[in-house]
């Protein structure tokens, strides 16, 4: 395909996603138009892009403007139009209508959404738009998180998907994960089912204990509820609703928003962007935690569970297998909970091979997106740490979970395990 990408228009460039993707492209020398509802908002996006690059010189590649002016000028010139507007299908539809009129035939248009069906977004568009419309789902912040899920819809030119995959990989150094055209793709589908499970367990265990038990030592840089505070609980709700509507699988019943979570959202306790969510940071630097029973914040209890502390110690010493042996040998409801959540992660990830990623890729794509998109240990590595398929299958049986399709999973090499060691954090 003889195609060159030099000029890019980012629609919704004042938001975190749009501005940081646009900034990344500017870092690679592309001319990028930051288009937002006002020039002032677009400039705020520029500031964010500069902070990501840690360099003001990228500004020479970025023009800021609004839909009344820059949009009219930049969209007809753009080789690639990236839509990163608010997660509202009606707003996106209106923008696509305007893009359709101005874009030149053949220009690529991609959406950064993962929670709205691509097929729905393409409805009503002309043939050329539909042939060149696809999803480039970057992870945030793209300066550090390299994963990018890529897919087209039914009418997308397959050659364009192939070209963009190569382009993202070679020119923008992305870890490209080809995915099926299914809502939430691979990463968010797996992670948010896990998040949903954990938010429901909060009712029994509390916020602090849940994040302690499923903490970084289990294979993630950040505990799950702290991650949701970063994502924003309103975004979490939107993704859960989307998954409830558009997916149907063995874990569907686990998709839920506990009443306390709705209360939090109603009260504006959306996470870091509002100063409080599951965690509330005090002026002293200490944290209080949301209590689902009273819907108020309670002081830290600083949990101390023997097997968790022992596992963390082994991780601190670099003895990762010993850490997981400790978890597996531990008894009691906390240990069962940890193993159950980790098994769920593995089971669900493997069960989606072929549904969210091409079957011929095995677990590789899912492994990539969970590590390079979420900073979580890849499912195949966690499988190995939990003793391999036989061990996990035995534990899944015991807990009534569906059997994962990981029997055929090739054993990870010691070097592959070491590559993932950075995700096992002694905290």
């Amino acid at each position: 395909m003889n195609r060159e990408i030099k000029n890019v228009a980012v629609l919704g460039a004042s938001g975190t996603v749009g501005s940081l993707i646009g900034g990344l492209l500017a870092q690679y020398g592309l001319k990028v138009a930051f288009i937002s509802r006002s020039t002032e908002r677009a400039r705020r996006g520029l500031e964010r892009a500069i902070a990501q690059a840690r360099s003001e010189v990228i500004a020479k590649n970025i023009a800021c403007g609004d839909y009344a002016s820059l949009f009219q000028q930049a969209v007809p010139e753009a080789d690639w139009i990236i839509e990163a507007t608010t997660e509202d299908p009606e707003i996106k539809r209106q923008i696509y209508e305007r893009v359709e009129v101005l874009r030149r035939p053949g220009a690529v248009i991609s959406s950064t959404t993962s929670s709205l069906p691509l097929t729905l977004l393409a409805e009503g568009r002309d043939e050329d738009f539909r042939r060149h419309f696809l999803s480039t789902h970057f992870y945030n912040p793209p300066g550090r998180m390299l994963a990018c899920e890529l897919t087209g819809h039914e009418d997308t030119d397959p050659e364009l998907v192939r070209f963009m995959g190569e382009y993202l990989r070679r020119e923008l150094h992305r870890e490209v994960v080809p995915v099926k055209n299914a809502v939430a793709f691979a990463g968010n589908r797996i992670a948010f089912v896990l998040f949903s499970r954990i938010t429901s367990l909060v009712e029994r265990y509390g916020v602090e204990l849940m994040d302690y038990l499923i903490g970084p030592y289990t294979g993630r840089l950040m505990p799950p509820l702290a991650t949701l505070d970063l994502v924003g609980l309103d975004i979490h709700r939107a993704i859960i609703h989307s998954l409830q509507t558009h997916t149907h699988d063995a874990m569907h019943d686990w998709l839920m928003l506990p009443p306390y979570l709705e209360t939090m959202i109603q009260r504006g306790l959306l996470g870091r962007k509002r100063g409080a969510g599951f965690y509330k940071k005090l002026e002293s630097g200490k944290y209080m935690f949301f209590d689902p029973d009273t819907c108020d914040y309670i002081p830290a209890i600083q949990p101390h569970v023997a097997f968790v502390e022992k596992a963390k110690h082994f991780i601190r010493m670099g003895k990762y297998h010993k850490a997981f042996e400790t978890i597996l040998e531990a008894e009691g409801k906390e240990a069962e909970l940890v193993v159950s959540v980790l098994c769920t992660y593995i089971v669900y990830a493997y069960s989606l091979i072929g549904e969210v990623t091409p079957a011929e890729h095995g677990i590789a794509g899912i492994d990539t997106v969970m590590s390079a998109g979420f900073n979580w240990a890849p499912p195949s590595v966690v499988l190995e740490m939990l003793g391999g398929p036989a061990s996990v299958l035995r534990r899944c049986d015991a807990k009534g979970l569906p059997i994962p399709s990981c029997q055929e999973s090739p054993k990870k090499t010691p070097l592959q395990i070491l590559e993932a060691a950075k995700y096992f954090v002694a905290k």
């Binding site: 360099s55 003001e56 990228i58 550090r144 601190r316 010493m317 670099g318 010691p414 060691a421």
Partner: protein, 410 residues
């Protein structure tokens, strides 16, 4: 060399982008990962290891932990009782450990030495880290009440070039840009995902401030955590290793030559001593020419790659003429005509060097040797220099107080 050759059997480098303090890991975890990775990467038989040499600059300061050899014997129950030695020569610690491995092997004392270079530095803030690094200089004279003594001292190296020959800082910016670009090809490089452009390196700004004198942020290698574990072996072990892996002994890299010199510790003394010399740092030059002589090579043009010690852009600028790529004072020519770039006549730091790849000080010498091994065995992946057969490394400690050069080849 007339003595028995010393072979390098390969090894493993940790990802230099990692922050081990953020992972809340002990320095022994870094040693363990490097060791376990090295066994997996080389398929050596751990039972054959006779000794472990550990290169580490300042574990006592950064981690409140010295005596790292004691952690080595925890890596495998079979290691209990093995001799271990920890080497400290500032940023050249692991190169000096490697030199010692050469000596022990050639003396017939050991057949297989496990060499680990390790440093955990992100445990303290940059001001305190700057103080710790200052102990590699003459602390009382050169570092007291100076926040970042080494940028200041290596800025003076640039000033000395400027005084003697003239120095356009644009060439320093170009050195930085090349190293960052090379680092993008290296999956273990600290800065592989960072933004860099010539314009950024050449421009002062909010994110590229002056650290000291003519040294800006982009002229500096960064604070890095990392470890490297590799194996140095006698002919007997190398032959066995080759047979076990279906290799020819000729295909196993060996130390073709080495140079090792020490200059007065104070930078001003070094410069005063060289006032009438064509080279700004003649004692560094001597380590290089000693290595050439021992390796039986005429000059740098017998080499295919150089991995040099670019702790600052000025130190690489110095290395270019000291290795002999240009006449003294004309390093800019090899930058301007692309000689030092991948694809150029003599690429320098295809790994990204210290500026792009990272500089965990006690691990850097070992990292350079491992990269030399990768280059001459054609296993450097994205940063492979096609057809490389001879690679030189330069690892310096302090302000080029300790200078260690290896020529490694097949």
């Amino acid at each position: 060399m007339t003595k028995e050759p010393v072979y390098i059997l390969g090894g493993y480098q940790t990802d230099f982008a990692r922050n081990w303090a953020r992972e809340n890991k002990h320095i022994c975890a870094m040693m363990r990962e490097a060791y376990e990775g090295s066994v997996a990467a080389t398929d050596i038989d751990p039972a054959e290891i006779n000794a472990a040499f550990i290169g580490n600059f300042a574990g006592e300061l950064y981690c409140m932990q010295g005596h790292l050899g004691g952690f080595f014997v925890d890596l495998d129950p079979r290691f209990k009782g093995l001799p271990t030695i920890r080497f400290e020569n500032a940023c050249a610690s692991s190169a000096v450990a490697a030199l010692s491995a050469v000596a022990y092997i050639q003396a017939g004392i050991f057949d297989l030495v496990c060499l680990i270079g390790v440093e955990q530095m992100k445990t303290v803030d940059s001001a305190k880290g700057g103080d710790y690094l200052g102990t590699a200089a003459f602390f009382e004279k050169e570092c007291v009440d100076i926040e970042f003594p080494f940028p200041k001292l290596f800025g003076k190296l640039g000033d000395e070039y400027d005084k003697r020959y003239g120095l356009d800082d644009a060439y320093l910016a170009r050195i930085s840009t090349i190293n960052y670009a090379n680092a993008r090809r290296n999956p273990n490089a600290q800065t592989r995902t960072w933004f860099m452009s010539y314009e950024h390196a050449a421009t002062l700004g909010k994110y590229n401030t002056v650290i000291s004198g003519r040294i800006k942020v982009t002229d500096c290698s960064q604070i890095t955590d990392g470890a490297v574990c590799l194996y140095m072996a006698s002919r007997r072990i190398a032959e066995r290793h080759a047979a076990r892996h279906g290799l020819s002994l000729d295909g196993i890299p060996r130390v073709l030559g080495w140079g090792h010199t020490t200059a007065p510790i104070e930078f001003a003394t070094k410069v005063a001593d060289s006032a009438n010399d064509r080279y700004v740092l003649p004692i560094t030059r001597k380590a290089i020419t000693d290595a050439y002589q021992r390796a039986g090579i005429r000059d740098c043009w017998d080499l295919d790659v150089i991995e040099t010690h670019d702790c600052f852009t000025t130190s690489q600028y110095m290395a270019i003429d000291h290795f002999g790529l240009t006449e003294p004072g004309q390093s800019w020519k090899a930058i301007e005509d692309g000689t030092i770039e991948i694809g150029g006549r003599l690429p320098m730091n295809p790994s990204g060097g210290l500026i792009g790849g990272g500089h965990p000080v006690g691990a850097t010498g070992a990292r350079q040797i491992l990269d030399a091994y990768k280059q001459v065995t054609g296993t450097a992946g994205g940063y492979q220099v096609a057809g490389a057969r001879k690679v030189a490394t330069l690892n310096i400690g302090g302000t080029a107080t300790t200078n260690v050069v290896f020529v490694i080849g097949v």
